[in-house]
Amino acid sequence: MSLSEQQSFSVVGYSQVFLQKLGSAALGFFAAVGRLAQFTGHGVSHCFTPPFFPRLLLRQLIDIGYYSLPVVGLTTLFTGMVLALQSYSGFSRFSAEGAIATVVVLSITRELSPVLAGLMVAGRVGASIAAEIGTMRVTEQIDALTTLSTNPYKYLIAPRLIAGTLMLPVLVLIGDIIGVFGGYIVSIYSLGFIPENYLHKTWEYLERMDVISGLWKAAAFGFIVTLMGCYHGFNSERGAQGVGAATTNAVVSSSILILIFNYFLTQVFFTGK
């Protein structure tokens, strides 16, 4: 075989390998999307069909809601404070300091509180759900549930999906108040604003939709975080490494999905498209 024939053969060979890998990756991606869609369908359908487990739901509401309050509260408090400082340093260049209160309240309610709360809960709750369910998978506890006439989707998945979807809006509403309060503290005690004027500006341009859109986003993010935690835990591979990978995948996938869905939800709420 001549040199040119060898070169042409190797190019064809590399192209085939590349196309095979590309095809394999595409098939893997679509299979994963299909599995996730099927899991989501099962999980959601079991949220609405008996038997229900109110004790488990209550425990999840407390775990996801109450115990996430400190981390969400601290995150939004300091975000509100930094936002006030940054806005002041920027707006003072063109004498627009009066807009700080409005910028703080709109930024917090529309974007920062839901997104940051979602990301923090993804780290705290999503990881914990994936680790717990993943450990149950590798120690055969999920199989044991089935043999004890209990559907794992109803017992493990549905209470977490419901609790995540319900509690994140509550956390975000509290985060909104704390975040705005953070901006207020910095503006009054550090930047010298008059409290009455600041509060007046806070309310003046705030519309109901600004808060409500943030709460809808929070509900979507709560669903995403718990869904990803449950999905990756439920499909965890064997061993400690499998559970570790499930935990990492749950946090990474839910964080990315939160940022992607945030864009699309913002587009729907504020441009109507």
């Binding site: 055969e140 004890l148 017992y155």
Partner: protein
């Protein structure tokens, strides 16, 4: 005429991708009898038992319980079938988040809709029957030794007085004395209930103790099946190598 089998597998196949795990399993267990399936790691024992339990769907073949085909049951029928079963998992598979008594009473509360107080009383009674005091009932699984966890698993498996009990490697990881204690408890519990049992193990001491009949699985097929007392004279070189634990013989370990 032979008695109708309580549990019957015919031509059961299961593959995971290119890995053909079960290649036509044929076994039957008569009512009230104990069948132990022996075999090395990776021969298909766990997949077989999970197929019977409905945790895995076989690709082909028939699995009958009391003459009823179970491979195509709908969820409500499967739930009803599950109430006939008890299962002791390898390592117990106890629920970490629940105290011992609630682990034992779980099937009664969830599967049989029993009142929690009544279920707790039964759970404590079942714990006593496997040699555990009422004081253990309020502990969590993480506070128990491996042997105690296995006893709790056994109490959970028999709590609802099942007709068929499955044992998955019940003595793996236990010291020989504790393993014998568990074997005795398995025999007592099964005979006491008159239950049919299907066990999988590679522990020959356990197999000899709890089996009426023994079958050997190798590369996804049953290669020998007979009364437990005949296992030493099976005339099958694979069985001989396995029960004597010899490295030399027709079974080659992949190392």
């Amino acid at each position: 005429m032979a008695a109708r089998a309580k549990l019957e597998l015919r031509g059961v196949y299961k593959s995971f991708g290119a890995n053909h795990v079960l290649k036509g399993i044929d076994i039957a267990v008569e009512k009230g009898k104990s069948l132990v399936v022996i075999g090395g790691s990776g021969t298909g024992k766990s997949v077989m038992i999970k197929s019977v339990l409905g945790l895995i769907s076989p690709d082909k073949g028939s699995i009958k319980i009391d003459g009823q085909e179970t491979t195509k049951l709908r969820p409500p029928e499967r739930d009803a079938m599950m109430r006939k079963f008890g299962m002791l998992f390898q390592g117990g598979a106890l629920f970490d988040s629940l105290p011992v008594w609630e682990n034992v009473a779980f099937g009664l509360i969830q599967g049989h809709a029993m009142d929690r107080k009544q279920a707790k009383d039964i759970a404590i009674e079942k714990l006593r029957s496997v040699g555990l005091s009422a004081g253990v009932a309020k502990l969590y699984p993480a506070e128990l030794s491996g042997g105690m966890q296995q006893r709790v698993g056994l109490a959970r498996a028999v709590a609802a007085n099942p007709e068929i009990i499955f044992f998955d490697e019940p003595t793996t990881g236990l010291d020989p004395i504790m393993a014998d204690v568990i074997n005795n408890l398995i025999v007592e519990a099964s005979k006491g209930l008159g239950a049919t049992t299907l066990s999988i193990t590679h522990d020959m001491a356990s197999a000899r103790k709890i089996a009426d009949n023994i079958a050997m699985i190798y590369k996804g097929q049953i290669i020998w099946h007979g009364p437990a007392k005949e296992i030493d004279h099976s005339g099958n070189e694979y069985v001989d190598q396995f029960i004597r634990g010899r490295a030399e013989g027709p079974i080659k370990m992949e190392v």
